[in-house]
């Protein structure tokens, strides 16, 4: 059985001496902080009768003692009988947590652990509680339904705890092959590109030979084979150049066509994959960044395949070709010329990364400067109202100074770096001129050979420089590809069953049965929530913000799956219902209305694309939206959304209601639908809502309790639990949580009245 951690050998021996065998251990867990708050080791062992706290003051010393065959007293073991324990819990703090054991009414901090261990200790506490109550401990108690957060192969934490991808162990070759597999449909294109590249590289190699050996030795040299035929030589050189350019144009065009096509397809794939994913994926931390990076990642791939790969091939061919040609022409001179090359490569390898780092630092400084500009200009009303122009100028000045500093650093660096690089490059030239020139005088080589060498050498530097950063480029490309694949490969957590139950039509009966739900491990948002809603009933969810009201609607819509208990609609577990049936018959009017870029009519008909114009107008009328829409210059064809006409909050809200009316769901969720509106608008929307809720099961969340007047029953939620349930009158009479909430709101309203007067 999985027992969280496996005990070290020494401890097993020590336990045995206490009469506890390994099979007695129900759970075993290792903490990573000692009593003094330093990183250390503390073990907890749980048997069916007691909790053992095993502390080792100096693990290395004790391991050594154990190795020496002395296993007595290695551990300071404290045994707490379970029947003396009132409660075992964990407490989450900042950057760490406690395991708290209450013994005879006195809470005791038995151990501190870093956040990395929080999950494990949460499970341990849960298991220990079960053992304490004498309940049987089962295999599934050792899991919180989440995969292990570390790589089983190397033990490294996954950079994203929710995604089992270890950047260290992931198969880079497989990734590369997978990227290349996108190009599988372009075999003919690839063959053409490679052929053209080879031809181009060959032509490139010939040019220096023509311009050196042939021109100087055979054409310009008295007694040369083609003496005096300058015109033909120049035409030939021009032709070669033209051919080489023609070839590179051709392969660049084929390549551009191919990469653009592949990347466009990839982007569509990624976007459809994202649409398929569950809500949890989107709300999880960091995924926001992941999403916005996707497009940039696809572009990165495109650049790499458009520029990187072809240049890599061309440049490799060029380097090999040039070196071979030089060796063939004169191997001794060639070897001499190549002497400074390793030095050059070393220098470039050393200096270029520093240059990129400086550039990215400057880029970051610029970005933070832009943020200040953006802040001050978008918030100009606030700046002016508080008279803080001077302060903003100072803030700008500070960031600007940083940009200046980094720019200066970059400037200094480049102004030294590039001349030095040039110097190194020239040093190869000096050798050729010096040694080669001497050879020419000696008559060992011709002047043409010397010129050919000089030309070849000049052609070598570009490709060499390219090679110094191709590895980084490749790494970045793999990284981008990896992120893209992650999205492509993420399976939606809320997946439909293979043979789902069809609920067509839905009655609208809702039941929550002992629902426990947490977004993050050990932080339950809903605790054992149960209630039943009859078809057509209107329920108001009441409670402080953060009590778990919106979460309840989230699990009813099955945006998330609950950890314990079940959500039933028409008596069927939502996990068994066809997702399409669920979505088509549950409607939401959220607090923050989102309108897509498009016309008002399109927005109203979002849930039912085939709706007729009459239906759209009827829905708008029911939502009290028709009148204001008609008054707009473009009527129902007014473009709204991100780049469209600005509507007020109330107007958007009414469009959202019209959308819900047309969608005609059996279950309607109103999530603070009227919270951000003024009283006049609210009244209009209340009217609209009244029409909307008819004949539907409605769950309404509202801060202002007065807006829940029409609810059949109210459910009061506090800290994730149902604390009161009943009609308005019943709850008033109870004089409990609801009553106090109402009192508070009345007071608040009275204060506002005073303030307004």
């Amino acid at each position: 059985m999985d027992r969280l951690d496996s005990p070290p050998k020494e401890l097993v021996v020590t336990c045995r001496s206490l009469g506890i065998s390994e099979s007695d251990l129900v759970a075993f867990v290792a903490g990573d902080l000692d009593d003094a708050g330093r990183y250390g080791e503390v073990w907890f062992a749980l048997t069916s009768e007691e909790l053992l706290v095993c502390k080792a003051h100096d693990p290395t010393r004790e391991r050594a003692a154990f190795a020496a065959g002395n296993s007595d007293g290695l551990y300071n073991i404290e045994r707490i009988p379970l029947d003396q324990i009132d409660e075992i819990t964990t407490e989450n703090l900042v950057g760490n947590g406690f395991l708290v054991v209450t013994v005879s009414g006195e809470p005791r901090r038995v151990c501190q652990f870093t956040n990395s261990q929080a999950r494990k200790f949460g499970i341990f506490a849960k298991v220990a509680e079960k053992a304490r109550k004498g309940e049987p401990v089962r295999e599934e108690d050792f899991s919180d339904g989440r995969p292990a957060p570390f790589c089983p192969r190397c033990g490294r934490l996954y950079p994203e705890p929710e995604r089992a991808i270890c950047p260290h162990c992931m198969d880079k070759r497989a990734l590369t092959l997978r990227i290349l597999s996108f190009f599988a449909g372009y075999k003919a294109h690839i063959a053409a590109v490679i052929f053209l590249m080879l031809a181009g590289a060959g032509l490139n190699l010939v040019s220096p030979y023509l311009g050196g050996r042939v021109l100087f030795d055979e054409v310009l040299n008295p007694g040369g084979r083609y003496e005096g035929r300058v015109f033909e030589a120049v035409v030939l050189m021009a032709l070669f150049n033209l051919a080489s350019i023609g070839i590179s144009i051709m392969h660049a065009r084929i390549n551009a066509h191919m990469t653009a096509h592949v990347i466009a397809g990839l982007k569509t794939q990624v976007f459809s994959a994202m649409q398929r994913l569950s809500m949890g994926f989107f709300t999880r931390k960091q995924t926001g960044g992941l999403m916005t990076r996707v497009n940039a990642d696809a572009d990165q791939l495109q650049y790499f395949f458009h520029d990187g790969v072809p240049y890599f091939i061309v440049n490799s061919l060029q380097i090999v070709g040039i070196v071979t040609a030089m060796l063939l022409l004169n191997w001794r001179l060639a070897l001499l010329v190549l002497v400074p090359i390793p030095l050059l490569v070393w220098f470039m390898n050393k200096a270029f990364p520093r240059l990129w780092r400086l550039f990215s630092r400057r880029w970051r400084a610029l970005r933070s400067l832009n943020a200040v500009v953006n802040d001050a200009l978008t918030g100009i009303r606030v700046v002016k109202a508080f008279g803080k122009e001077r302060q903003e100028i100072e803030r700008f000045g500070r960031r600007n100074q940083r940009v200046y500093d980094v720019s200066l650093q970059t400037g200094y660096f480049t102004s030294t770096f590039f001349p030095f690089l040039g110097l190194l490059m020239h040093s190869g030239g000096w050798i050729v001129w010096g040694v080669g020139g001497w050879h020419v005088l000696e008559g060992e080589i011709t002047f043409g050979t010397l010129m050919t060498f000089i030309n070849y050498l000049g052609m070598l530097y570009g490709p060499l420089e390219f090679m110094t950063h191709i590895v980084d480029w490749w790494t970045a490309c793999i990284n981008s590809a990896h992120r893209i694949f992650e999205i492509l490969d993420t399976a939606p957590e809320v997946a439909e069953k293979p043979d789902p139950v069809r609920l067509q039509p839905m009655q609208g009966e809702i039941e929550l049965r002992n629902v426990t739900f947490e977004y993050e491990p050990n932080k339950p948002v809903l605790k054992n929530v149960s209630f039943h809603v009859r078809p057509g009933e209107m329920i108001g969810l009441v409670g402080h913000s953060g009590a778990g009201k919106s979460t309840i609607t989230n699990v009813i819509c099955r945006f998330y799956d609950v950890q314990e208990g079940a959500v039933l609609i028409d008596g069927v577990d939502v996990r068994d219902v066809a997702v399409a049936d669920l979505r088509s018959q549950i409607g939401i009017v959220p607090q923050e209305t989102f309108l897509f870029t498009g016309t008002i009519a399109e927005n109203i008909a979002y849930g039912r694309p085939g709706a007729t114009m009459e239906e759209i107008i009827q829905a708008a009328k029911a939502a009290n939206a028709h009148d204001f829409i008609i008054k707009l210059p473009d009527g129902y064809e007014t473009v709204v959304g991100v780049r469209g006409q600005d509507l007020s909050g109330g107007e958007k809200q009414r469009i959202a209601i019209a959308r819900a009316i047309l969608h005609n769901p059996k279950i309607l969720i109103l999530d603070e639908a009227t919270a951000s509106l003024d009283t006049q608008t609210e009244r209009q929307i209340q009217e609209a809502l009244k029409r909307l809720v008819q004949g539907r099961t409605t769950i309404a969340i509202a801060h202002r309790l007065s807006t829940l007047r029409d609810a059949d029953r109210l459910i009061v939620i506090e800290e994730g639990k149902v604390v009161e349930m009943g009609t308005h009158e019943e709850l008033e009479a109870l004089q409990g949580v609801y009553y106090r909430l109402r009192e508070k709101q009345r007071e608040a309203l009275a204060i506002r009245g005073v303030a307004a007067g």
């Binding site: 950057g95 005791r108 870093t114 990395s116 780092r357 630092r361 970051r364």
Partner: protein, 174 residues
């Protein structure tokens, strides 16, 4: 009327500072903190929060009961006797567990994630940071806060004071 309002408001905004003369903190047998104020008020266990964890770690400390209601604030720990101050500081350091990085052995970046190997005042530690742009935070021109993938926190109060190699690692990040 105006005055009455003012009075009503002050009930909400006035800070109740705990008086060192009457507020007595002590350690429970279980290692937590108990508070007794004067003769009547007694809390078997209190939780302590810092209002300004970075700038004023030992001032403006909110003392709350276990339901999260504020009992009062400690204006400055130095007002209390040494033993009490020590007890409270230890409790605070437990809540805001943030080891101070004293030396950076290495930071290896792989595929956008950084693997740190450091020495801290709580011992050597390896941890993983994702998205260094947003998880390595410059709190002031010299104070650096680092948050790892599990939400563990580490700080460098003044990175200029680190050894040259460690400093270079940080400078390259900022």
């Amino acid at each position: 009327m105006q005055q009455q309002d003012q009075h009503g408001l002050s009930e909400y905004v006035d800070i109740r500072y705990l008086d060192p003369a009457t507020a007595r903190f002590s350690e429970t047998p279980g290692g937590f903190v108990r508070l007794v104020i004067g003769e009547e008020e007694s809390y078997p266990r209190v939780a302590l929060y810092r209002a300004f964890p970075f700038s004023f770690p030992d001032r403006y400390i909110s003392v709350r009961d276990m339901d999260g209601n504020e009992i009062g604030m400690i204006k400055d720990l130095n007002e209390f006797d040494e033993k009490t101050a020590k007890l409270i500081l230890r409790e605070l350091e437990r809540r805001y567990f943030t080891p101070v990085i004293t030396q950076i052995e290495s930071i290896k970046e792989e595929f956008g994630y950084a693997y740190w190997d450091v020495r801290t005042d709580a011992g050597p530690r390896r941890f993983t940071v994702r998205d260094m742009q947003s998880n390595v935070i410059l709190l002031s021109p010299e104070h650096v806060l680092i948050i790892d993938v599990d939400g563990n926190r580490y700080e460098i109060p003044d990175y200029h004071k680190l050894d040259a190699r460690s400093r270079k690692y940080i400078e390259d990040l900022l």
